[in-house]
Subunit: 476 residues, 2 copies
């Protein structure tokens, strides 16, 4: 009954809520480009205040501020983590409309950041508003922690976690990484792979030269290619010495959870226009690789000239970015040590290795309160039980947030995106129906947490909730 | 005596001549950027008319025009080949002053195109002016052929050569590729390596994706890296199947010429800030590799994201550009066939191979009239005999020009640049003293050709002049 009233409020305000999202999406906030970040942080704070949150803005060092907002009060406290910065837009020519036009076409809202993750932030704040309008003041404490450096490896959030651990003491953490899969099933994640984001650099002459010198002056592009070719095999297997021995076997609980995960191979292949998967994997083996396999991805290579004009250059420098997604027991520090050693032993001492960013993996139990709230609230809104991932193939700074407590805070994550949202590519978009549905779902999660407020303190959940959250310390 | 008068004219007009060059250098004419090309062609024509040349402008298809100018008349005819387009400027931030500001600092003129090759074009036209003011009308015919597509693999020039072979019938051809080496010795080239400029492309998903997919979606960047790693060995040796067997042994005449070539290893290492040469080559072996070695240079690779912002992307496409410099008996068509076969046999059928441009190698005898004119006129101006290269490590469309006749026209090349001119990189520059010296030298070359007008027709020179100039026909 009460939830029916909540839903009516959401439906009546659907247009207003959508406009609020468009307003945020029209404010460019590419952390890498710096511009627009301050006004974006202010807009987030104002939106929090609008739903009655007490706010604080934490400016830590030279970074972009962490915007903090607290709603409601009760015995339990939950963190809601998000970010207001967006990814770089990439090639403008690949976008159908301006990345900050926030155009709505055919029930979709197109904007850089619509999916990752302004849509989730606005949906959650709107749910708080609707919940309060329906039920009155929240009977639990929700702490929104919204950072501006998701695209910059979250240095301010890391500092925030260290300096304000008191604000992060919580019974659970809700993140917004998640989407409907190609079969329209909500996915819920109970953990995240870690990341080691590295840059390899090779050097030749002090500047790009005429390529007539190609026969006698060392070419850093060849050097980089030869070094990279030793890191991953032709079959796509990571061949760094000793790497595989640090990958933990999949536990019985995880193997069980894996059985319910089915990758929509046909749908994804169509979506991404793929002819096949790495090593021809399929079925259970494909799912296992996606969820529990470590990755080493070339995210980018740049050297010399490949633009318009036939410039025959001998490059002076070559750069590659490598992104390792880390499963238990791989840590960012370990990857750096293993890769450096691997390169050195093959004579690539001259290839520089630079750490661009890192985050540890995080892993929660299905028995934690936030996990149950998310899982058990889903069917009513989405019409079917969610797909629960024991580990999300993606990463987030959530390890930093959850690792501030001992034992680490259980984390659960879900979002309003869908399989076609393309959050890091051109034409990033969300479906407006998913946005409204997400507001209704988040209201139910709040409701579940509020109703279960009186049950016994399941602190023992916490202990087996997180197998390992290790905050990576730079090992040089 | 007469040449002293010629020199005085040049010295009196040094400032005017320099200003003429600055005017051309202030007109951006990057063929790849299209803008400014038409007004540049007009300016070249006007400058030709100013020294009394009869001009014609050949607009062939959709390309940039070939500007043709004819001066003087006599029994013999010589081609002067050049180009009015310039290379892309690259990163503006790497330039000390604007690439089209044509700033003069410390006796140097900085501009994109100053060295390659507006400086030479202006110097040669000024020399014609000074020669005529001193000696009267030229007693031989000089045909300036100045194209606008040096940076675009010269499609219009190729068509011009095919459609106007009559205009290219000549006793010799003078090109402007050349410079003073680090020991300040003029270099003269009697041939040029050919080129095959290719692009390799690998494809993955239809667009860049979030790198969480890295474990299961094929990454075209890894594919490209693995394919490239089979093309050149760790030691920098081209490892394409069958490639080496097409490299002709160095002839006795060439081996003799090679002995007089000494690479200023210390000077070049300092200039380019190098710690060493490919495979640790040094001395005679280094010179032989530079002059007679075929090359395979990665000129550029682009895939994914390497700019500001930590964008963890799984690229949808990866591109590499390869530049092969070709020595006898390698042809562009042969390289394409060998590389395609090599990749296919290793399972890289999916890696696309695209031909971006090509030119055959050209090679002349030291006994040809233009070669003797250039070699024997040098010492008086430069104070020392020139260094004669039997084959220039660089390439030019000169093969197209010289191949229009049977037997091919002997070619000789020299220029006003110096070892620090950096013609394809930032801060391209020439020294103004070299520019003036170049005018005086070109006047002497004209004088030598004019004085030797009556000697027996050395048509037999032509026959052994060019060992092989093969016009490459696209073999698909």
């Amino acid at each position: 009954m009460a939830l029916a009233r909540f839903d009516r409020y959401v439906d009546r305000h659907a247009r207003t809520f959508t406009e609020r999202l468009q307003t945020l999406c029209r404010m460019p906030s590419v952390a890498a480009r710096v511009t627009g970040m301050r006004s974006m942080a202010e807009a987030v704070e104002q939106m929090m205040q609008r739903v009655g949150a007490g706010t604080r803005v934490f400016k830590l060092g030279s970074g972009f501020p962490v915007v903090y907002g607290e709603c409601g009060a009760g015995r339990r406290t939950f963190l809601v983590y998000g970010h207001y910065d967006v990814q770089p837009v990439g090639q403008l020519s690949e976008w159908s409309s301006g990345p900050f036009a926030a155009a709505t076409v055919g029930g979709k809202l197109y904007a850089r950041g619509a999916s990752n993750s302004k849509g989730d932030l606005v949906a959650r704040l709107c749910a708080v508003e609707a919940y309060q309008k329906t039920f009155g003041k929240l009977p639990l404490c929700l702490r929104f922690v919204i950072e501006g450096e998701d695209g910059l490896a979250s240095p301010s959030l890391t500092r925030f976690a260290a300096e304000h651990a008191d604000l992060l003491r919580a019974d659970g953490c809700i993140w917004d990484d998640g989407y409907k899969d190609t079969k329209e099933r909500l996915t819920i994640n109970l953990g995240f792979k870690g990341i080691a984001f590295l840059e390899l650099r090779a050097f030749g002459a002090r500047t790009d030269l005429h390529s007539k010198w190609g026969g006698i002056i060392p070419n850093p592009a060849w050097r980089l290619v030869q070094a990279l070719a030793t890191v991953v095999s032709l079959k796509g297997v990571i061949t760094i010495d000793g790497f595989a021995s640090h990958v933990a076997p999949v536990s019985a609980e995880d193997a069980q959870a894996l059985k319910s995960i089915e990758i929509d191979e046909v749908g994804l292949k169509q979506e991404f226009r793929l002819s096949g998967w790495v090593r021809g994997l399929t079925g259970r083996a494909l799912a296992k690789e996606l969820i529990f396999g470590p990755t080493c991805t070339i995210c980018g290579i740049h050297t010399g000239h490949t633009e318009a004009g036939l410039k025959t250059t001998l490059p002076g420098m070559a750069v590659a970015r490598l992104d390792f997604r880390l499963v238990p027991d791989l840590t960012p520090g370990l990857v750096v040590i293993l890769l450096r050693k691997h390169l050195d032993e093959r004579g690539f001492e001259d290839v520089e290795l630079i750490e661009l960013g890192s985050a540890p993996y995080a892993k929660s139990s299905i028995k934690s309160l936030v996990a149950r709230a998310a899982i058990e609230s889903a069917a009513e809104v989405y019409g079917a039980p969610p797909v629960v991932y024991p580990l999300d193939p993606a990463t987030g700074p959530v390890g930093v947030m959850c690792g501030a407590n001992t034992p680490p805070t259980p984390v659960v994550s879900f979002g309003i995106s869908y399989a076609g949202s393309n959050p890091h590519g051109p034409d990033e978009n969300i479906r407006l129906d998913d946005f409204i549905q997400g507001i209704k779902y988040f209201g139910r999660v709040i409701h579940y947490l509020a109703q279960n407020d009186q049950e016994r303190d399941q602190s023992e959940d916490h202990e087996d909730a997180v197998e390992a959250v290790k905050v990576f310390r730079d090992q040089g």
